[in-house]
Symmetry: C4
Amino acid sequence: MTKLERLKEELVTANRILAREGVVDSFGHVSARHPDNPGRFLLSRARAPDCIEESDIMEFTLEGEPIDAGGRAPYLERFIHGGLYEARADVFSVVHNHSPSVIPFGVTGKKLKPLLHMCASCGHEVPIWDSQDKFGDTTLLVSDMAMGRDLAKHMGANPTTLMRGHGATVVGRSVRHAVFVSVYLEVGAKLQMQAMQMGEIKFLTKGEVDKIVARVNDYTLNRAWENWARRAGREMQKQPA
Amino acid sequence: MTKLERLKEELVTANRILAREGVVDSFGHVSARHPDNPGRFLLSRARAPDCIEESDIMEFTLEGEPIDAGGRAPYLERFIHGGLYEARADVFSVVHNHSPSVIPFGVTGKKLKPLLHMCASCGHEVPIWDSQDKFGDTTLLVSDMAMGRDLAKHMGANPTTLMRGHGATVVGRSVRHAVFVSVYLEVGAKLQMQAMQMGEIKFLTKGEVDKIVARVNDYTLNRAWENWARRAGREMQKQPA
Amino acid sequence: MTKLERLKEELVTANRILAREGVVDSFGHVSARHPDNPGRFLLSRARAPDCIEESDIMEFTLEGEPIDAGGRAPYLERFIHGGLYEARADVFSVVHNHSPSVIPFGVTGKKLKPLLHMCASCGHEVPIWDSQDKFGDTTLLVSDMAMGRDLAKHMGANPTTLMRGHGATVVGRSVRHAVFVSVYLEVGAKLQMQAMQMGEIKFLTKGEVDKIVARVNDYTLNRAWENWARRAGREMQKQPA
Amino acid sequence: MTKLERLKEELVTANRILAREGVVDSFGHVSARHPDNPGRFLLSRARAPDCIEESDIMEFTLEGEPIDAGGRAPYLERFIHGGLYEARADVFSVVHNHSPSVIPFGVTGKKLKPLLHMCASCGHEVPIWDSQDKFGDTTLLVSDMAMGRDLAKHMGANPTTLMRGHGATVVGRSVRHAVFVSVYLEVGAKLQMQAMQMGEIKFLTKGEVDKIVARVNDYTLNRAWENWARRAGREMQKQPA
């Protein structure tokens, strides 16, 4: 199998995992930067994540133009992915989701912060992007590069951002990393909602977050991936190069 | 297959989806206007949604009279459906449910409003119909046309209404549309309950709701339907004409 | 099949349903009055509800003495069942459970009341029995007839009672009825917990409860039973006489 | 089968049960003291609990040194287990988890206390260990014997302890006992979070806790184990000696 074929398989598994773990429902998507061409990225045609197969994975320029669409309709919101790959050379995978527990944070403006070691990867700061600020009344969908670039700019160097009334976007250094951060962003948000009802929360310190983030290696990611892939009915594969 | 046969299949799938997605339990129902005769509608005999088969689908006049019952007992609450098809020519499908997260809104009188783009289809306003107001102490069931018509009148041109101590009713321009609105009404209600505990909520603006509602097309509905049908163990079919 | 054999099958299905619907976990039990001898009742040997088979069903006197135990160890708390069959000729089935959503009501003393038509069967009043009041520090288990009789006395003519720090007990005119009331007691408790956080609750009126309770007939019970039996992997059978 | 082989099978089942019951996700672990050598313990190689097989179970000294690793990578946090086996001769099994409902207690400092008879086994007092107190900014992981011993010292003679921002650790007199306490610690934490929103809680009295703890025997543990093993797709076995 080529590097490209392996990465397409990885994306299919990622979609199935995100669906199985409740991070996406019939909507939401995950992409990867092209392994041979950093000016391209891979993303499924517009289809529910749990239904996606290898032949659904399309190739796009960073501006969201499909290469050889072959009749496949793309997701409208491919500009989220393009905007982030364009802005950040450190990003190799992007997840966009409507992960249920993050929504209440986006619409109330309450800051989501890591309180559990597994959730440190959401970073010191989870900004909230509000499409209303710059684009006024829209469908809230990131439907062109102007919106995609604004989202990327607002996100800055952070690993995650919420989107008011819409969901969240997460980046990673690999598909497994972006999926890991996405799953534990949901876990952390649910825990924080519960803890907020109980009293003052002792969040992780800045130093703890830094130490944990530095330690999340492929070993950690693969332990989770093996478990999630199995739950999603997919075979565990070596991580693509 | 005739248009009628396709629509019966569609209704079976709709019932299974609503059960699988937690919108109905052993009770609740979904109907469609007859494809050849706008003065009739199709609805299952009285049976739990997840058990329904094609042969359970009966035909009714808009006043709830069964055509050729063939020994099948109808749902008592068929008048919800009749009342709405009679009042609104724009309605081609009706879902009645006891969707868990909407109940607390109905009994506290708190207004359910869209805070997530996926939930805009519940409309600007979700009225609450209280059978007590006009009919006093009843079983709360919509058991005749007088009640069905009163519900339809109270609902007005809105896509959804809550029913105090009872559940919700949702209409759509197709079966897939009514199912979509029903699923995301439940999603939105759960999110709003959580967000209300956290602080002031920034709901979607009126302009955002209008723009999103205008964009929910068959494409969107089919993406969700493919996923839900698969989860419910039903084949994805083309949408009936 | 004899009436007794049918009823044993019904009890197995009831156990599986209660487990599948989250009303019991590895503990909790359901019994039926003997169809031929009102001075006896049927209850499984001490085993987790989801594991129970026909051969596990034992026969007991109303004082909890096993008839022909055949080496099978009984539940310690069989006195809950005996106490209720002894006190109330209207009772043909008893469910005892640790249904999760009812526990917070028992330990806070907040009154559980019906707010949804499906939940009216829990009755106008759900008393809370506290074993501490009469028996002081115990394991909280109803471990002899003195405790079983005290519980029955406290419950009075009500269909349900909570037990502080322990769970709930529900009675019915048939196995299907007791299971139905148990499932919707859990549903109603969860909804009430949510609604209490949102504001003042409009509960069902006394008249509404009476009207609904009068209407819950075998037809209603069988619709739910068909669905629940299927989910629990058991065949739908005619209700035993 | 030897005693050692039986115990390895038991540990595999324990891992699968903890995963199935939601006490562990892709992380967390359960160990047992070696049946023939109290100076050793058994623990899986670093792998997600639901994926573990007999050949993954490794042997360690109480200081966490692997005996005959055979290329298998150990869990970093094996020192939690070593520290507890070293400090307490009464401990034969240890579970470490990130059980979701206990996390909010750890980060808010609210005391988790038994309110349900099934949960009495968490003990009169659930201390909260904060790695920050003695070790400052770390990854929060118990990554050497100094931390393992400090945790064991803080836990004292209690059956459970929370770990701030991290999870919980539970000990037992057998694998089944430690699993039982872990499952009901999660159940109790969830119930207490709900009850705290409703009003003043009447917790179990000290006398009630003592009486219940004294009564939790192998009989109780086996009833739950049969049910949980079946749900996890594992055969029910006799408890290892």
